[in-house]
């Protein structure tokens, strides 16, 4: 297959993914709408269960097609490469990891209640990416052609996915806390407050070391090779550091000050805010001034900075 064919395959696959996720979201919404008035201990009727399974199956299919889209994206480049060269590619990879994590962990941690949120989130983000971020497949710029791309980005994507999941749980915690006694509908089927808090903590405890590795080990090593300094207070680095500090405060507060529940959830949400601001905000608001900006190549006025920025 030619590069153009691979690229077209990727584009078409993503269109299919969007439709399939949309159907999955509909199925889950029907499922949860049916449960709206049903107490948690009442048995589910056949129709509701069918819609739930249908939604799950569609999500599996959607994820599989999304993997095809990712592979197509990588194969379309000359030379072939990992599909992590720009924001668009990061987003389609990140949502895939999120959906995959949900599918894998669903059985083990009874995450059925997470289905509409994850699918809805992935669908929204994918559509926004498709509308605003789409770029043609291009070869990697010189600074990106490094094995550290794989290591740094994989770790960052995993940590971002996990932190986002932790953020979703924190929101659910805060919502459920306002109506702790609900016995019917979605909120009642979300785990107890204690359990939510515990799962959220565990996810953060997993994500934090991965984030540490991504931004404080792999990132600096690569920055040393590509940009001649391991830490240069670039806007992206500053915000990665801010995120790290906020989550360090989260873990610290839990471990020593005994912060739980509400307070911990709020700190976690601040953390997720800085994380996403770093991903989106820095590229748009500080585009030119960050070496991580995935915008057009920066104009070099004085020979001060590297002109081999990331794209």
């Amino acid at each position: 297959m030619s590069n153009t064919q691979w690229e077209n395959l990727s584009v078409q696959a993503l269109a299919v993914v969007a439709v399939v996720y949309f159907l999955a979201l509909l199925a889950h919404l029907v499922e949860w709408a049916a449960l709206r008035k049903l107490p948690t201990d009442a048995p589910l009727d056949q129709r509701t269960r069918t819609f739930g399974r249908f939604g799950f199956l569609l999500t599996v299919i959607g994820a599989a097609v999304q993997l095809v889209a990712l592979v197509g994206r990588g194969m379309a480049a000359d030379p072939n490469r990992v599909p992590w060269g720009n924001m668009y590619e990061f987003v389609i990879t990140g949502t895939f990891v999120l959906v995959l994590a949900y599918l894998v962990l669903r059985g083990r941690f009874s995450l059925e209640w997470l289905a509409p949120i994850v699918v809805g989130f992935a669908l929204t983000v994918l559509m926004v990416a498709e509308l605003t971020l789409y770029e043609e497949v291009v070869p990697l710029t010189e600074a990106l052609s490094s094995p550290w791309l794989v290591i740094h980005v994989v770790a960052a994507v995993i940590a971002t996915g996990a932190f986002t999941l932790g953020g979703i749980l924190s929101v659910l915690y805060l919502v459920k806390e306002r109506k702790p006694d609900t016995t019917t509908g979605f909120l009642a089927r979300v785990p107890e407050l204690d359990a939510l808090d515990r799962i959220s903590y565990r996810i953060h405890a997993f994500a934090f070391p991965v984030w540490t590795f991504a931004v404080l080990i792999a990132g600096p090593i690569w920055a040393h090779y590509a940009w001649s300094r391991y830490w240069g207070w670039d806007a992206k680095e500053v915000w990665a550091f801010i995120t790290w500090v906020v989550y360090a405060a989260y873990l610290h507060a839990r471990a020593t000050a005994g912060w739980k529940g509400r307070n911990a959830a709020i700190v976690a949400l601040v953390g997720v805010g800085t994380l996403w601001f770093n991903f989106i905000g820095i590229n748009y608001f500080f585009g030119g001034s960050s070496q991580h900006s995935y915008a057009a190549p920066s104009v070099v006025q004085e020979p001060v900075r590297s002109s081999y920025d990331l794209i």
Binding site: D78, E136, V137, V138, P139, T141, E142, A143, S145, S146, R198, Y201, R202, A205, F208, P209, T212, L216, I217, P220, I221, H224, Y225, A226, W227, S228, R229, Y230, W233, A235, V238, W239, F241, I242, V245, V246, A248, A249, L251, H252, A253, R254, A255, T256, A257, G258, I282, F286, S289, P297, V299, V300, Q301, E302, P303, V304, R305, S306, S307, Y308
Partner: protein, 510 residues
């Protein structure tokens, strides 16, 4: 009396500083304090942007200057936060190490009186004698790597001591990272230099275009290497969506580690720096230096050589440059203008179609007068001071431009002289940096990660087993307690009970 008060005050301050609450506040403050560093252009990151910002905000700039907002990460208040944090860390580490050291050698605590009252406990009855049950419990718990103590008809055990060790390691490592980072910024240096093809460089201060030394860096610390750029290759993409993008930049260097060392070759590429001793050389940019000869009004060569033009646009490499001929007589000559590496005339506008030098052309305005270079003030080689220069016009007063392809010569009006475009030459920008302590910092972060993993995933827990005789039977009570706050011990308890019962020979028989 005063002495005591001072001591009390110090003690009180120390306690406040090292409290958990203070550490938390300092952490969040550190995050908050970093924000201006990403919003306001920083002098040592993008000096050009910073000076431009100053020009655009004449009212705010002096205030910002005072607050150190143009170099947040070197400012006093930023340093104050992280030094307080480091102090708070030390204050946290010391007492905790003492407590940990004591706890490490202490025996597991005695079994509580009523084991069944603990949230995770189990009871079973067997005919096995008390001593046998306890003996087997000890073996079993040891095998599960618990620290075990038998006393008064019960077995106490504990494991997961390394959690606190991980915690301490993490905190100490943060200090190591700070130290490594500090060493780098105090004793290291960073500099950049543009070298054209066939040009050379030897590592001393006078040869740098820009140089940022650490505050304690000594000129003797600079390694005495030298190099020459023998060639520069670049691969221009001729098709595809990124048509015109350059790839595979390679600067071929001949270098010597010491003035009388043997000459070696190295292909310097992006992501592949050359290390000489503790110094690293990086390829971070490239451009063109057209060779230009300027003859003055007397017909003498006033300037001849490559002139570095700075790319204004990375896509087409349209570049800006300045030629200064201070030796020109009777009047000094200055040229200022653009270089189009692949020149084309599109609708009457000169443009560069491409970054490669397929059809190079220079297009410059000429000035005569006083270049202002005699005052002794240093002048940027990329800026022409036109305050005492006059632009040359054609005899009829219309605009005059020096537009030349390689090999061409143009006479300046007024008999001021002539300009020849001899040919093209690539230049590369090489960043040279010495960052001592980077190994220390990296080691520190790795240790911190190891410590972090330990402190997050090692779960300290205690298990007690008590057996007593009751109605011709042995009642065995087992309880487990999680001490990490958030862990679950139910599964482990069930496993321990199961294997304790499975080893019960009598129960199996019955």
């Amino acid at each position: 009396m005063g002495d005591l008060n001072l001591r009390e005050l110090l003690r009180w301050s120390w306690r406040q500083l090292t409290s958990m609450r203070t550490a938390l506040i300092l952490l969040l403050l550190l995050a908050l304090a970093s924000i201006p560093g990403s919003v306001i252009p920083q002098d040592n990151i993008d000096a050009f942007k910073a000076s431009q910002w100053r020009e655009d905000h004449p009212d705010l700039a002096p205030i910002y200057e005072k607050l150190g907002l143009f170099s947040v990460f070197d400012s006093v208040w930023f340093a104050a936060i992280y030094l307080l944090l480091a102090l708070s860390l030390v204050g946290c580490i010391l007492p905790r190490t003492r407590v940990y050291w004591r706890g490490l050698r202490a025996a597991p605590p005695k079994a509580p009186r009523n084991l069944t009252r603990l949230p995770d406990s189990a009871t079973y009855r067997t005919s096995e004698p008390v001593d046998d049950v306890l003996a087997r419990a000890q073996v079993l718990l040891r095998k599960r790597r618990f620290r075990v103590l038998a006393a008064e008809g019960a077995v106490s055990s504990e494991r997961g001591y390394l959690r606190e060790a991980g915690n301490l390691l993490f905190h100490i490592s943060v200090l190591i990272v700070l130290a490594g980072f500090g060493i780098g910024s105090l004793f290291g240096y960073q500099g950049g230099v543009i070298v054209w093809k066939d040009g050379g460089f030897s590592n001393n201060l006078t040869q740098y275009d820009d140089f940022v030394p650490g505050s304690l860096m000594q000129a003797e610390d600079m390694e005495p290497f030298s190099f020459e750029v023998t060639d520069f290759d670049v691969n221009w993409l001729m098709s595809g969506p990124r048509k015109g993008m350059a790839q595979k930049f390679v600067a071929h260097l001949d270098y010597r580690e010491t003035p009388d060392g043997e000459e070696k070759e190295y292909d310097l590429k992006v992501n592949h720096p050359l290390s000489i001793g503790g110094t690293d050389l990086f390829l971070i940019g490239h451009g063109y230096a057209p060779s230009i000869t300027v003859r003055d009004g007397n017909g003498d060569v006033a300037w001849s050589g490559p002139v570095i033009f700075l790319p204004e646009d990375q896509a087409t490499f349209t570049s800006f440059g300045v030629v200064k001929a201070p030796d020109a007589r009777p009047r000094q000559i200055g040229l200022e203008g653009l270089l189009y590496p692949t020149y084309a005339n599109v609708d009457g506008n000169p443009v560069s179609l491409f970054g490669d030098d397929r059809n190079p052309r220079i297009s410059m305005l000429a000035y005569v007068g006083n270049l202002g270079m005699d005052s002794g003030d240093s002048q940027s080689v990329y800026v022409l001071d036109k305050s005492r220069m006059t632009e040359l016009k054609k005899n009829d007063g219309s605009m005059f431009r020096v537009d030349l392809f390689p090999g061409q010569t143009k006479k300046l009006p007024d008999g001021a002289g002539s300009v020849t475009f001899e040919g093209m030459r690539p230049w590369v920008r090489i960043q040279i940096s010495k960052t001592p302590g980077k190994g220390v910092a990296l080691g520190g972060v790795i240790l911190a990660l190891v410590g972090l993993l330990g402190s997050l995933f090692i779960r300290p827990r205690r298990v007690w087993v008590r057996a007593r005789r009751e109605d011709e039977e042995t009642v065995v009570e087992i309880a487990a307690l999680d001490r990490s706050g958030g862990g679950e011990v139910g599964t482990e308890l069930a496993e321990i009970v199961a294997s304790l019962r499975a080893g019960d020979v009598r129960e199996e028989k019955s």
